[in-house]
Symmetry: C2
Subunit: 428 residues, 2 copies
C-alpha cells in the first residue's frame, strides 16, 4: 500500500470504499469483543488454581514465625510473605509492607493519607495546601490519573520518550515548584507502551532535587516479572539509587500478584525506606488491624520463591505471547506500508500502545465500538482523559481468545484506515 499521506483524492476514495466494505462485513457479524481492560484470560487464571489446594483444614496455618494466620495481628504482613516480597520488590525485609488484594488500593491509601495527614517530612497535610500537583508521564495508567482527579490534585502531563519519561522537564519542574508533590511511574513494561526505564532515567529520578521536601515518586512496578520473551528488560533498583543519591525517603515502590496469581484475589505490597515504612505503619494501624494473612500464606506456599515465580511467569508468557504476536503481525500487515500508525513491540507487560495520525483516535475507537469491538476509551491514557493529540489507543491483547483477537484487531485496522483516509480527504 502507498503511504496514506501521499495518496491523491482518487486513491483515498478507493481506500475508503474498500475499507468501508470490509467494515460493513465485520459489522454484520455482530461481534462482541471487550478489549477495554488488561485482564488475564481464563487459561492464565487456571495456572494458579493450585493456590487453592496448598492450604487446607489440615495443612497448618501458622506463618514461619509462629503467627496464627487466622487471628488478628501482623499489620505489615507475615514473616514468610515479607521474605518473598522483599525479593520481588528488591528491598529489605524491614523496607516493606505486605498488604491486601490490590496495589491500586495501597497507592490510593498512600495518596489519600498524604492529603489528610501528610507524609514523612511534610510540614502539613497536602490537602491543606492551596495547590497540590502530580507529574503524569503520558500515555500512562488511567487509574493513577483517576486518583489525582478524584482528590483534586492537579495533573501535569509529561511526555514519554523511548527510555522513560522526559527527565529534562521533570528535573526542571520539580526543582522549581514546591506544590509538585508526586509523580506516577510504571517503570517496567510501562502501561501502555511496554517501555522499561533506562539506567540513566532511574539514576536521574533518584538524583532529583525537588523543591517540596515531601515529594514522592510513586513507582508502580506492576509488571516487574511479566516478561514476554527470554531476554527480559532489566530495571535498575530505584531504592538503592535513591539511597546512593541521599534521597532514600523519596520513593514508594508498589507491586502485586494480581497478574501473577488471581487478578481479584492476589497480594499487594509496597517498599520504601525503613523510615517511611515506620511512619506509614503508624498511619496504617489506625485504618486496619491487619490484612488477610491466610491469603498471604497461600501465596507463599504456592509461589515459594523467586524461582517459583519465574517458572510460573513463563507459563503466563506461553499463553499470552502468541496473542501479542498476532496483534503485531496484523498491525504490520494492515497498517505498516500505508504508514497509518505507529506502535510499540514490548518485551513484557500487558499492552501495546498504538498512535494513529493526530486527531483520529477518538473516531477510531468509536467506529470500532460500533462494530462490536470495545477498546479502552481514547484519551484514557492521559490526565483528565484528554489526549492532546488525540492519537493514542491502548491495545489489551491478553483477555480475548486468539480468534477473537484476530478479528478484533482486523476491525481496529480497518477503522484506522477508514478514519484516517476520510480525514485526509476532508483536508484536501
Amino acid at each position: 500500500m502507498k503511504k496514506l499521506n501521499s495518496m491523491n483524492k482518487e486513491e483515498l476514495l478507493e481506500l475508503i470504499n474498500e475499507s468501508q466494505k470490509k467494515y460493513d462485513s465485520y459489522k454484520s457479524k455482530n461481534l462482541k469483543y471487550d478489549m477495554s481492560r488488561g485482564k488475564p484470560c481464563p487459561e492464565q487464571l487456571d495456572l494458579s488454581d493450585g493456590i487453592l489446594d496448598c492450604i487446607s483444614s489440615t495443612s497448618g496455618l501458622k506463618a514461619g514465625d509462629g503467627t496464627d494466620c487466622r487471628n488478628y495481628g501482623g499489620l505489615d504482613g507475615i514473616s514468610d510473605a515479607k521474605v518473598l516480597f522483599s525479593q520481588l520488590l528488591e528491598v529489605g525485609v524491614n523496607e516493606l509492607i505486605v498488604g491486601g488484594n490490590t496495589s491500586l488500593n495501597m497507592m490510593y491509601d498512600c495518596v489519600s493519607r498524604a492529603m489528610l495527614k501528610g507524609v514523612l517530612g511534610s510540614d502539613m497535610p497536602w490537602g491543606k495546601l492551596d495547590q497540590v500537583k502530580f507529574l503524569c508521564p503520558s500515555p500512562g495508567y488511567d487509574r493513577h490519573f483517576a486518583i489525582c482527579e478524584f482528590l483534586g490534585i492537579e495533573m501535569i502531563t509529561v511526555d514519554m520518550n523511548e527510555d522513560g519519561p522526559d527527565m529534562d522537564t521533570i528535573e526542571k519542574l520539580v526543582s522549581e515548584d514546591a506544590s509538585i508533590k508526586g509523580i506516577w511511574c510504571v517503570p517496567k513494561y510501562s502501561n501502555p507502551q511496554g517501555i522499561t526505564y533506562s539506567d540513566e532515567v532511574v539514576e536521574r529520578f533518584a538524583a532529583l532535587k525537588p523543591k517540596a521536601p515531601d515529594f514522592r515518586i510513586f513507582w508502580d512496578n506492576s509488571y516487574t516479572v511479566h516478561h514476554l520473551t527470554d531476554t527480559p528488560d532489566q530495571l535498575k533498583n530505584i531504592l538503592e539509587s535513591c539511597k546512593q543519591a541521599g534521597n532514600s525517603d523519596m520513593v514508594y515502590i508498589f507491586a502485586s500478584t494480581s497478574k501473577i496469581t488471581y487478578a481479584g484475589a492476589g497480594i499487594a505490597a509496597m517498599g520504601a525506606s525503613e523510615a517511611n515504612i515506620e511512619f506509614l505503619k503508624k498511619q496504617l494501624g489506625i485504618q486496619t488491624i491487619c490484612y488477610d494473612k491466610i491469603n498471604q500464606l497461600r501465596h507463599v506456599r504456592f509461589l515459594k520463591n523467586m524461582d517459583g515465580i519465574a517458572a510460573h511467569m513463563k507459563k503466563h508468557a506461553a499463553i499470552i505471547r502468541p496473542k501479542f504476536d498476532i496483534v503485531l503481525d496484523i498491525l504490520d500487515k494492515e497498517l505498516k506500508s500505508g504508514g497509518a500508525a505507529e506502535w510499540t513491540c514490548p518485551n513484557g507487560g500487558y499492552f501495546i500502545s498504538l498512535n494513529t495520525m493526530d486527531g483520529c483516535a477518538k473516531a477510531v475507537v468509536a467506529k470500532a465500538k460500533e462494530a462490536g469491538v470495545t477498546l479502552t476509551g481514547a484519551g484514557a491514557t492521559f490526565p483528565y482523559k484528554k489526549d492532546p493529540r488525540d492519537r493514542n489507543i491502548r491495545i489489551a491483547p491478553t483477555y480475548p481468545s486468539l480468534d477473537e483477537l484476530k478479528n478484533a484487531i482486523k476491525v481496529l485496522c480497518v477503522c484506522v484506515l477508514l478514519v484516517e483516509a476520510e480525514k485526509l480527504l476532508a483536508g484536501m
Copy 2:
C-alpha cells in the same frame, strides 16, 4: 466481706495486708496473660477451618451470576455474597457493599472519604470545614475513637445508659450544632458493656433532626449474631426505622465475619440506602477495582445462609460462654459483697465492662500488668483515652484458656481490692 466504703482504718489495713499477700503470691508465679484485645481463641478459629476446604482447584470458581471470582470486577461484591450479607445486615441486596477482610477498614474509608470529598448531600468535604465533630457514646470501641483522633475530628463524649446512649443529649446536640457530622454506635452487645439498644433508642436515632444535612450514624453492628445465651437480644432495624422517619440516608451499617470465621481473613460488608450505596460505589471505584471475591465465595459456600450462621455461632457460644461465666463467677465471689466494683452480664458480644470506684482504673490496670496480666489500657474505652472518672476496665475473656482466665481475673480482683482499699485509707 463488709462494704469497703464502710470499713474503718483497721479493717482496711487488714484487707490491704491480706490482698498484698495474695498479690505477691500471684506475682511470684511469673504469669504472662494478654487480655488486652477481643480476640477469638484458637478453638474458636478451628471451628472455621472447613472454610479452607470448600473451595479447591476443582470446585468451580464462579459466583451464582456466572462471575469468575478469580478475575477483576464486581466492585460491590459477588451476587451470592450480597444475598447472604443482605440477610445479616437486614437490608436489601441493592442496599449494601460486600467488601474486604475488615469492617474497621470500611469505616475508616467512609470517614476519610467524607473528609476528602464529603458524603451524599454534603455541601463540601468535611475536611474543608473549620470544625468536624463526632458524638462518642462511651465507654465505647477504642478503634472508632482512634479514627477520629487521627483525622482531627473533635470527639464529644456521650454517656451510655442501660438501654443505649443518652438520647436526650444526642438529640439536643445534633439539632443545635451543624459541625456534628457523625456518631459511633455499637448497637448490639456493645463494646465493652454488652448492651443492646432498646427499640425506643433505635427509633429516636432514626428520628434525629440533625442540623448538618450530611450527618451520618455509624452503626457498627459487629456482634449482631454473637449471642451467648439461648435468649438473644433483639435489635430493631435501623435502616427501616430511618426510612419510616424520612431519614433513609442518615445511617451506615457495618458488620463482618471477623468473629464468625477468621479474625484476620473474614469478609466485611456495609449497608445503607440505595442512594448512599450508589454514591459510595462511585467513590470506591477510584480506590480499588474489586475486593477479594474468592474469599467472598469461600464464605458463602461455608456459611451458606442465616441458619448456617446461627448454627455456627452456637458452636462459638459453647466455647466462650464458660469463659464469661467464670469471669462473672469470680467477680461475684471476690468483689460483690465488698461493693468494690460494678460490672455487666452481657447476653452476647466479646466483653465485660467493669467499673471500679472513681479514680482507680489506671492504678488497677498498672498493678495487674506488674503481676503479668495485661488488660486493655485504662481509659482506652473513652475519647482521647481519657476516662473522666478513671473507673472503666474492659475485660476480654475470649482468648485465654479457662485456667489462664481464672488466674487472670483473680489477679484483677486482688488488684481492685488493693487499690481501692489504699485509696480509701489515704482519704481518711
